[in-house]
Every structure is written in structure tokens, then in C-alpha cells.
């Protein structure tokens, strides 16, 4: 880890960035609770995007020193083979392992 590269002290970083990140945490909690209140009551954990989301939350809460890179990789396609043809024009935000099997 590149220690000491941010010019701010720990106290200064907390002073500067605490409120905006507290807000982000509340947004996350609200999003997860909203899923529990969905009109159809379908379990969101079956969605591949939400499965990656849960793993990312665990990574954020861990002590991993490179948690930013690891969260990025949790959402990423780890394969190296090109697709035979275009499936869809746009990415969905998380890699879907099932799409590779098909």
C-alpha cells in the first residue's frame, strides 16, 4: 500500500470526507431496505448483480489493504477469451457467470 501519499492527516481526511460518506452509507441501507419492500417480494439475492453487490459490501467491511481494487475486480469479467459475437450493446455493472456458460 502506498502509505503517506495523501497530504491530509487521518483527522483531516475524516473532517473533510466523513459527512459525504456517511450519506453514501445511508443511501446503501435505504436501497437494500427498498428491495425488501418490493411490490412482488422477489428475493433480490438471486440477481447476479446483487450477488456481486453483497460480496463487495463484505470486501469494504474487511481489512484488505487494496479493497478498492478488489471491489472493482468483484464486479469484473475475469475471463480473457473474446466473445464470438455481440450479445448486447451495453454492460450491466456486474459480470454474469451464467451468461458465459450458455
Amino acid at each position: 500500500m502506498t502509505k503517506g501519499t495523501c497530504p491530509l492527516t487521518t483527522g483531516q481526511i475524516i473532517d473533510e470526507y466523513f459527512i459525504e460518506n456517511r450519506t453514501r452509507l445511508l443511501e446503501l441501507a435505504a436501497f437494500l431496505e427498498r428491495l425488501d419492500r418490493s411490490a412482488d417480494g422477489v428475493d433480490a439475492t438471486n440477481d447476479f448483480r446483487m450477488a456481486a453487490f453483497r460480496r463487495a459490501l463484505q470486501m469494504i467491511a474487511s481489512n484488505a489493504p487494496d479493497k478498492m481494487d478488489q471491489v472493482q475486480l468483484l464486479f469484473s469479467d475475469p475471463t480473457t477469451e473474446p466473445r464470438e459475437q455481440l450479445d448486447t450493446k451495453s454492460a450491466s455493472g456486474a459480470w454474469n457467470p451464467a451468461s458465459e456458460v450458455a
Binding site: C6, P82, L86, T88, A91
Partner: protein, 282 residues
Amino acid sequence: MYYIEMHAHMVSRTTDDYRDMAMAGCVAVSEPAFWAGWDRSSADGFEDYFRQLTEFEPKRAAQASIRHVTWLCLNPKEGEDRTLAAEVLKRIPKYLDRPNVVGIGEIGLNRVTRNEIATLNDHVQLALNSNQLILIHTPHLEDKYKGTRVTIENLQKMKGLRANRVLIDHAEEHTVNMILEAGFYTGFTLYPNTKVSAARAVDMVEKYGTERITVSSACDWGPSVPTAVPQLMLEMRRRGHSEEIIRKIVFENPLEFLLQSGKFELPRLGIQAALRSIAAAT
């Protein structure tokens, strides 16, 4: 402070945006050819777009005293159509001598398909044959890591390609290191939702240093902020970074890269003044 906007799709922006950027210190805009948000129906459509990029936009930018340079290609979102790509590739060379064309871009991969790779390689070959700089787009979201890896592997197979004449754009935390280690320039895209915030861009500068790193707003027809680069400057000041470091990221690095085209100049500073300012800072 002066800055260079390294990646902006000004055809989708208003003249007021040019003015706001100029008021915030922008002296030059580099505009890659990109996807219009819908597929063009023919190579003729691309030619009209190339004329817009080389005739109309430089004039509009000049009204705000901004130097406009551009990059030509068939973009990655349409790269799957090999027939259209071949037709557009035939038409690009006649525009390369125009005064504001600095290279081929933004080319690259979207969903990392075999056809996209072939279209990318055709464009790189055209750039090498005509001694053009190259601007590379990397895919979005879950495709970025794989797309960046495959892109770098492909570029490294191209004979005669010099990494310092290629900028691999839209880098994020998990791709920046592989781009810089391979000797390429890179760019961080300051988007409100899908890419990198100013705070994260500054984090990456702190972790990876300032060499060969640029930033841009990549403003286009979607949610994006034309003055995102000055916002990053504010973020760097908020953390106590020196004016020298800020200037290197927002002005000197893009200048150093674009000067390699042999066509880049700054209307009011003059290219000599620009070179002197680099010498003074190093």
C-alpha cells in the same frame, strides 16, 4: 490556471458550454469521434460527422478562444459491423491532413468480441501507416478489466507501435497500473455516475504518481459535466496538493502527448510559450 480538456464530445454540447469551459481556464479541447447514441446508417453519415469535427467545431471553439483538435474513427460501439468499418476506414485517410486532426480515436473494444478486435486492429494499422497518434477507449463497467487486458495484449503485438504515442482512456483503479506499466499514457474520466469521481481520480494520482496521467470530462450527450476538470483541480487543492502537480495533470501531460502529433498549438499562448512552461516546470 490553464487546462486542456483531453476528451470531450463537443458536437453534443452547446456554445454556452464552450464559453463556461473557457471561463474556467480551458485553452484547448481534444474531441474523439464517438458513438452518437444510435447506430449511423451508412459511411456517408460518418463523413458528415468527420466534416463537422474538422470544419464546424473548430470554428465554434475559436469563438471562445479554445483550440479544437479531433480524432477520427468508427467507434467501438459500432465496431461489430465489419462491412461498415471497412467502408469508413477507406474514407478516413482523406481527412487526416486537415489542420485539427491529431490522430485515430477513440477506438477500442465495447463487449470484447472478435469482430471488435479486428476493427480495432484495422484502425491501429491505419494509424501506424499514416504516423498518427492513437486514442483508445476502454469498455464500461464489468467489461473494463477484460477489455483493457485484451486491448493491451493486441497493441503489444502490433509491429512498430510506440506506447508513448498511445493514450488508453477511461482507466480505473483496477486497470491504471497495467496501462502505465506497459508505457502508455492514460486518462481518468470524471463522470457523475458510471466512471470516476474527482476524489477517486485524485486518489489514483496519489497512488500512481503524475507521469503520463491525464484527466477529462468526456462530456457528451449523456449525464456529464463539461467543467469536471476544474472540479478536479478544486479537489486537489482541497487536499493540499501543489499547483505544480495540478498543472502537470491538467495541462502539461496532455500538452506533452498532443505535441507529438506535430499539429498541436495554442492560439493565444503560442506553442513556444507552451514548451517554455513545460521546461520551467521540470
